[in-house]
């Protein structure tokens, strides 16, 4: 029993706040990867496919990072695809018509994202219109503006700009047959993971907190090391001149940055507080409006970034860019263990959820499954992932997933005494009549 319990901690089941769900999804992700690796007889994990997978899905994962924060705060953003499209056309036109250099175009794109985000944040946070409505309006508004500004045509972007999607790291150092910088990045990440683990463990021991047995740590670190270094070697071993693509690097940096923000900053803590119980958060001094404003604004900035990467990848900005992205991003977040009612979710979970969707789509396409059937399967996977959760929770069985996504059970939890039913909080008397 205790062996099993410890074994579960290998994938981080002991950490609070979504670890268990992530562990479950991580296992599912690995299973899917292995399955497609076998079905496609090795194509899935080939360097070319991995590079393609990264540049094809990195912008969805970037959206998922922003979306998980929106959903933790108890909102939703339907407008991300349209925001991406509008930013894309503005950026493309700025380079074609105003001769903006690529870096100025990118800055402009981020500013556009920030302005759009401030607009949506204003309506959600300060006027109090549900985000669903605000962003539904935004979905139409910004899609229309994209087609208006671009006259519904495709606008190509210069080659140097395209680097932000499919740029590769240069070849430096001795000829190892690998891209040396990619290997170096892999090594550095592995080292950081190991050092962090050791330091955390030392702190926990000092504080007298519960720590996993040493063998669990060793197995966990070995597993992570193999995966990280394996991935680095795969990315590095592609055609000469290729490496992990720039979009993958951007995604990596954002993943670290936002994990830090959500876990280690007061703002991140406040996002969870607002989503978990906004009235309690407000009475604890959290400025709910500001939190909501910045969460919505942040989402639009990330959507702008995703739009720019997509434009770089497809060499042009078009009127149909970003169509249905919001659905993929939202699905990733929920597969990654976030709660519809807010307060629960992690950046890591959303990324794993996004990867599950990405590997699934990619693998099915490699197998020659039509995009119609891919949609069907993706829909079923989303439903199954969440249904599995709900089922486990309702049955009260042990569930890695249910354990950490559970909302306070209100059912059957009646007022313990007549007191709480009689003397109520200041109810707006107008609510009934």
């Amino acid at each position: 029993m205790s062996f099993l319990k410890d074994a579960k901690k290998i994938l981080g089941g002991s950490s609070s706040g979504g670890g268990g769900r992530q562990a479950g999804m991580l296992i599912a992700l690995v299973a899917i990867v292995i399955l497609f690796q076998i079905l496609t007889s090795g194509t899935t994990l080939s360097p070319e496919n991995l590079i393609n997978l990264t540049s094809r899905y990195s912008y969805i994962l970037i959206l998922a990072i922003g979306m998980v924060m929106v959903i933790i705060a108890g909102h939703i953003d339907l407008s991300v695809g349209s925001v991406a499209a509008l930013t894309g056309i503005v950026v493309a036109l700025s380079m074609r018509d105003w001769n903006f250099p690529w870096w100025a175009a990118i800055l402009l794109g981020l500013v556009v994202g920030a302005i759009i985000g401030a607009w949506q944040g204003f309506w959600v946070a300060y006027v109090g219109i549900p985000a669903f409505i605000v962003t539904l309006a935004g979905m139409m508004l910004f899609r229309g503006m994209n087609q208006w500004i671009g006259r519904s045509t495709a606008v190509t972007v210069p080659e140097d700009y395209q680097w932000i999607s499919d740029g590769y790291l240069p070849e430096v150092g001795p000829n190892t047959g690998y891209n040396n910088l990619t290997l170096l990045i892999g090594l550095v990440i592995t080292l950081i993971v190991v050092i962090r683990e050791v330091m955390n463990r030392r702190t926990n021991v000092k504080l007298g907190a519960e720590v996993a047995p040493i063998w669990v740590v060793v197995v966990r670190l070995a597993l992570f090391g193999v995966v990280i270094m394996g991935a680095a070697m795969l990315f590095a071993s592609g055609r000469v001149g290729t490496s992990i693509p720039a979009s993958g690097l951007i995604l990596g940096v954002l993943a670290v940055l936002y994990t830090f923000i959500t876990k280690n900053t007061p703002f991140g803590r406040h996002v969870y507080a607002v989503g978990g119980n906004s009235r309690a958060a407000s009475l604890s001094g959290v400025n709910i409006k500001r939190v909501n404003f910045f969460v919505m604004m942040n989402m639009s900035i990330l959507a702008a970034l995703a739009g720019m990467i997509f434009v770089a990848r497809s060499n042009a900005s078009g009127p149909q860019d970003g169509l249905n992205w919001e659905l993929d991003a939202i699905a990733s977040v929920f597969i990654g263990g976030a709660a519809v009612s807010g307060g629960i979710g992690t950046v890591a979970g959303a990324l794993i959820g996004g990867l599950v969707m990405a590997v699934l789509s990619n693998g099915l396409v490699l197998l020659g499954v039509g995009s119609d059937q891919v949609q069907v399967i993706k829909g079923l996977v989303l439903l199954a992932a969440v249904a599995f959760d709900v089922y486990n929770k309702n049955r009260g069985r042990f569930s890695l997933i249910g354990l950490l996504t559970k909302k306070p059970a209100n059912t059957g939890d009646d007022q313990p005494t007549g007191a709480s039913t009689e003397a109520q909080k200041p109810q707006p008397a107008g609510n009934a009549g």
């Binding site: 702190t203 978990g276 959290v286 007549g418 039913t421 003397a423 009934a432």
Partner: protein, 522 residues
């Protein structure tokens, strides 16, 4: 009221030995209630005495089988499954929070769930006719097409009664029917209840307004701590007046349920001056009327008031204007005026408010004990923009030990803790902000006796440390047991102030149930 004879009318409702348990609490303990046909029967008791629970048992909100004991209604054993079932038998309950849909018309509301018509939809013509008749019966002169939101609360109350009449009510239960009505509307409602009595409708009325109870009730049953204390018959040998009812409601011993304490009271620390606040939705309705209140260093001040008196409203509006629309008033700390327009400002000025509803206002139930403990004082563990997790853990551990919070570890979810331990987490959360002024709203609600004693100890320690403590409580013994001074609140205004020595339940209750001028007149 005619003098009752020795053998009154037949018993229409007989609730025998009703016991209702909730996890950890016995809300009703062998309660007996006998209601005679055609009478107005009042149920009185303090908040938490079990009145509402008893009515929920009667109306099937708590279905048969979820309680012990037997209900005999109209000579038959009643096993109500739900409200629909009890309504079919002729029992209609009208809650204090009215169950009307504001956007629908009077007619639509009257027949909601009991629509008049055949297979092809509602017969609106017939419905309207019937609505006119029903409105006439309750003496409401309104166009039945008026939307509910456009008529006042008093008239809405009448619509509820009309709705009950449509359901051919035999036993009408009114829960605090006049709590939100003005005098004229209340008088009209009481007249209507008398009128219904004349037509054979039996009523049970739950009310805190004892003068009204005295006026209208034929019998009065008093509940205390989930038990039946007594049933009194108005017009019998004993004179039943407010005094008599109050004695029944509060008459319990105040033994050593409270820890000993020697107060060490200093200079005034916190003052509320001319505090006036308007209801957030209803313009012109004041929930606080020129309240003046002072708390000294090391002093525990109690605020007594019945439900709806505006206790929580006062506390929340003082705490960063978290409730209602601020109209006028000023806060002082150490004699200096302070601004606390937001919760953060209030916290920065050393105010803390422990809400009465810890589950919906005090805690994020998704959080761990560790995260909850630092929720209000997060600033204190932030180093260079980053939360210091080690410090966070230390703080949580420190309070877990100091307040003896029973939890497997500070990493456990607060939703897994018992009510008493959850309350300790809320207290820890506010103690960590190191406040000078603590406002505790119903700090021991829904908590067992042992945990209560511990919470009193914590409160005493905070006062001993030189803080100013304000305790709001519905339980008079609690206020009398821990306070140095008690203010009474009625309809948003302070009606009286007692020192611990001169306060007793009867005089408190009197000040809690009447306005100041009545008080002076008597």
């Amino acid at each position: 009221m005619e003098a009752s004879t020795t053998s009154p009318r037949p018993v229409i409702l007989d609730m025998q030995d009703i016991t209702k348990r909730f996890p950890g609490v016995v809300a009703l303990d062998s309660v007996n209630l006998q209601v005679h046909a055609g009478e107005v029967h009042a149920i009185c008791g303090e908040n938490g005495a079990g009145k509402s629970t008893l009515m929920k048992v009667l109306s099937g909100v708590y279905p048969a089988g979820s309680y012990e004991g037997q209900i005999i209604f109209n000579g038959e054993v009643a096993n109500f499954r739900d409200i629909k079932h009890s309504e079919a038998a002729g029992i209609v309950i009208i809650h204090q929070e009215l169950a009307l849909i504001p956007e629908l018309s009077i007619t639509e509301n009257l027949f909601l769930g009991n629509e008049i018509g055949g297979k092809f939809g509602i017969d609106w013509k017939k419905a309207r006719q019937e609505a006119v008749e029903l409105l006439a019966r309750v003496g409401l002169d309104e166009d039945p097409d008026t939307q509910i939101k456009n008529i006042g609360v008093g008239k809405q109350q009448l619509v509820e009664i009309a709705k009950a009449l449509h359901k051919s009510v035999r036993l009408l239960i009114l829960d605090e029917p006049t709590a939100s009505l003005n005098e004229a509307d209340s008088a009209h409602l009481l007249d209507l209840i008398r009128g219904l009595k004349g037509r054979g409708v039996t009523s049970i009325i739950i009310s805190h307004k004892l003068n009204e109870v005295e006026q209208i009730a034929d019998s009065i049953t008093i509940l205390r701590d989930g038990r039946t204390v007594e049933t009194m018959r108005v017009g019998g040998e004993e004179t039943i007046d407010e005094e008599r009812i109050i004695r029944g409601m509060v008459g319990r011993s105040l033994k050593s349920r409270f820890p000993d304490r020697t107060p060490n009271i200093g200079d005034p620390l916190f003052e509320i001056r001319d505090w006036t606040v308007e209801h957030p939705q209803i313009a012109g309705r004041l929930v606080s009327k020129g309240v003046n209140l002072t708390v000294r260093r090391g002093e525990i001040v109690g605020i007594a008031g019945l439900m709806g008196a505006g206790r929580t409203e006062l506390a929340m509006s003082v705490f960063g204007r978290s409730y209602g629309n601020f109209i006028s008033g000023q806060l002082y700390k150490h004699g200096e005026p302070i601004e606390a327009k937001t919760v953060q400002q209030a916290i920065d000025h050393g105010l803390a408010y422990v809400s009465e509803d810890r589950k919906s206002l005090g805690l994020n139930l998704l959080d761990t004990v560790r995260r909850s403990t630092v929720a209000a004082g997060l600033k204190r563990i932030v180093r260079r923009g980053t939360i210091d997790h080690r410090e966070e853990f230390n703080v949580a551990e420190r309070y877990r030990k100091a307040l003896r919070i029973k939890t497997p570890s500070v990493e456990a979810g607060v939703d897994t803790l018992s009510g008493g331990n959850q309350q300790k987490v809320v207290l820890a959360k506010w103690m960590f902000t190191e406040p000078d002024v603590l406002i505790l709203d119903e700090p021991t609600r829904g908590i067992d006796v042992g945990a209560k004693f511990e919470i009193y100890n914590i409160i005493n320690e905070m006062a001993a440390a030189g803080r100013a403590v304000i305790v709001i409580s519905s339980e008079l013994p609690e206020l009398l047991g821990i306070s140095d001074r008690i203010y009474t609140l009625f309809e948003g205004a302070i009606t009286n102030e007692f020192s611990a020595a001169e306060a007793d339940p009867e005089s408190l209750m009197r000040s809690m149930t009447s306005q100041r001028k009545e008080l002076y007149a008597s």
